[in-house]
């Protein structure tokens, strides 16, 4: 404090920190993983066997969202009053609508996980949950459809959450929910392949796995296009919005963007496509590509949250 008017610390425009970035990542990851798992089940028309990818999604979906919500609760200034947010609703608030969606999505994700993993449960010493899974199985179709719709909502919601703030030109854009939904899909695909490869010992040449990998390029292309559209919108809007583009060239977050998002997140998976097919399809290469994708998405959430909050109208 060295001005006559006092401490300026509270005026830092960066209000939400990395804990929120991790939550945004986890929510996107959970939604993306579930969307891909269920989507591929519908596409394959195989309703008899549970594919390793669906099993992976059945774990990642509920686990990622629960970890994300834990981040969210402990980031509150009054974490033990979190129940207040569950009983009071302002329907104008994106956060309140998100709470409602998550209140249904999370238990539904757990229920769906139990259904998909019903044969796995006894192996993991969770046999006591088998009767619950058996009880739920009759509801499978309804749970599946509702969960799929809610996953779209949750994936887009994290984008709506921060784009609702008109104080920040980089966040207050229409493309953010779409960008977060698509990057959630790429995180979901990457995490599904990691878990399918490591936990469910899927074959490297599994048909479903190859089909999911085929999705990655178009998803990534959409993500790159959305990012480009975001920056163009800022550039042409001018004024404070154009000033926010400085985050691409200056400061720590420029590094996070170019190294984390572009280099690791897009570069490594794209370059891996140049490797000979035999090398590309080894377990190690697939894991490396998936982990780079996940790192890129985590970096994207950090970049958008921090750079977005650093520039104010």
């Amino acid at each position: 404090m060295n001005n006559t008017w006092g401490d300026m610390a509270q005026y830092d425009p960066v209000t939400w920190n990395w804990v929120i970035a991790v939550y945004l990542f986890m929510a996107g990851l959970s939604a993306g993983s579930v969307l891909i798992g269920i989507g591929m089940r519908w596409y394959s028309k195989d309703t008899l066997t549970e594919s390793p990818i669906l099993k992976a999604a059945a774990i990642i979906g509920p686990v990622a969202i629960s970890l994300g919500l834990a981040c969210l609760v402990f980031d509150l200034t009054k974490p033990f009053h979190f129940w207040v947010i569950l009983v009071n609703y302002n329907f104008q608030s994106v956060m309140a609508l998100g709470v409602l969606a998550l209140l249904v999505y999370t238990p539904l994700g757990i229920a769906y996980g139990l259904i998909v993993l019903r044969d796995e449960l006894p192996k993991w010493g969770l046999g006591f949950l088998s009767p619950v899974a058996q009880m739920l199985i009759g509801w499978r179709k309804a749970i599946e459809v509702l969960l799929f719709i809610l996953a779209i909502g949750v994936g887009a919601y994290t984008g709506f959450l921060i784009s609702a703030m008109n104080a920040y030109p980089m966040l207050n854009t229409a493309i953010l929910p779409a960008l977060f939904l698509v990057s959630g899909l790429s995180a979901g695909a990457a995490a599904n392949s990691v878990v399918a490869l490591l936990m469910f010992k899927v074959d490297n040449h599994d048909r479903e796995l190859s089909r999911m990998h085929a999705l990655e390029l178009p998803v990534m292309a959409t993500e790159i296009m959305f990012l480009f559209m975001l920056f163009c919108a800022l550039y042409f809007k001018g004024g404070a919005a154009a000033v926010a583009l400085a985050s691409l060239t200056t400061g720590m977050w420029a590094g996070v963007f170019w190294i984390g998002v572009v280099g690791i997140g897009f570069g490594v998976p794209l370059l891996s496509m140049l490797m000979p097919a035999a090398t590309r399809h080894t377990k190690g290469a697939m894991l490396m590509v998936a982990c780079s994708g996940l790192t890129g998405v985590l970096a994207l959430r950090h970049f958008i949250l921090y750079a977005g909050q650093s520039y104010i109208y």
């Binding site: 001005n3 006559t4 008017w5 006092g6 401490d7 610390a9 509270q10 005026y11 425009p13 209000t15 939400w16 980031d75 509150l76 200034t77 009054k78 009053h81 979190f82 207040v84 947010i85 009071n88 609703y89 302002n90 104008q92 608030s93 994106v94 956060m95 309140a96 709470v99 609702a164 703030m165 008109n166 104080a167 909050q309 104010i312 109208y313």
Partner: protein, 190 residues
């Protein structure tokens, strides 16, 4: 007719003494390290010897279309019957959405209550007793005027009708109720 409380800060009369800042702190028991109100002395602007400073009041703008109220998930940030934007402490969980969403960056977490806090025109204390907000009363140069702008004979209504004024960041559509009379340069004529 409904009330429309506004405050006018005459930047010609302001000397940046921070008496308002101190009076606010004492009236509202604001803990150390955080503040509801400060007057930033910005500048100097211009070429010597014609330099001038700008006195910028930083406090809740009491927006008529308040982003903090819109984003608050629990309704802790609300608009009262008198139109004043305030916080219900027990409904606030401290998600910081309002702190982030405020374009004026005037909301903060009160370290004692852990709820968000900001200027509410001394609504529960001085205003409830029929007195003017602490900052208005204490100002030694009468740079602050407070009242109901819907009342045609009020001091604020007359002031806004006769002097040019501006508000901060009106392009965001927040309709702030802090009006500012800009500094007239060139010194005081006798």
């Amino acid at each position: 007719m409904s009330k429309r409380y506004v405050m006018v800060h005459d930047e010609n009369k302001c000397i940046g003494c921070q008496a308002c800042n101190v009076a606010c702190r004492s009236e509202n028991g604001t803990p150390e390290g955080v503040t509801r109100l400060q007057v930033r002395v910005e500048g100097p602007f211009g070429q010597a010897p014609n330099l001038h400073f700008k006195y910028h009041r930083v406090s809740c703008q009491q927006c008529e279309d308040a982003p903090c109220v819109k984003v608050c998930p629990t309704g802790a940030a609300y608009v009262g019957e008198d139109g004043i934007v305030t916080i219900k402490e027990d409904k606030c969980v401290g998600c910081m959405y309002c702190v982030a969403a405020c374009p004026y960056k005037v909301r903060f977490v009160n370290p004692e209550t852990k709820a968000t806090d900001k200027c509410n025109f001394c609504k529960d204390t001085r205003l409830a007793r029929g007195e003017l907000p602490a900052c208005v009363t204490v100002c030694p140069t009468n740079a602050l005027t407070f009242g109901d702008a819907n009342e045609p004979d009020s001091e604020v209504a007359k002031l806004l009708n006769t002097k040019p004024s501006y508000q901060d960041k009106i392009h965001l559509g927040t309709k702030p109720r802090i009006y500012r009379i800009p500094t007239k340069r060139g010194g005081i004529e006798s």
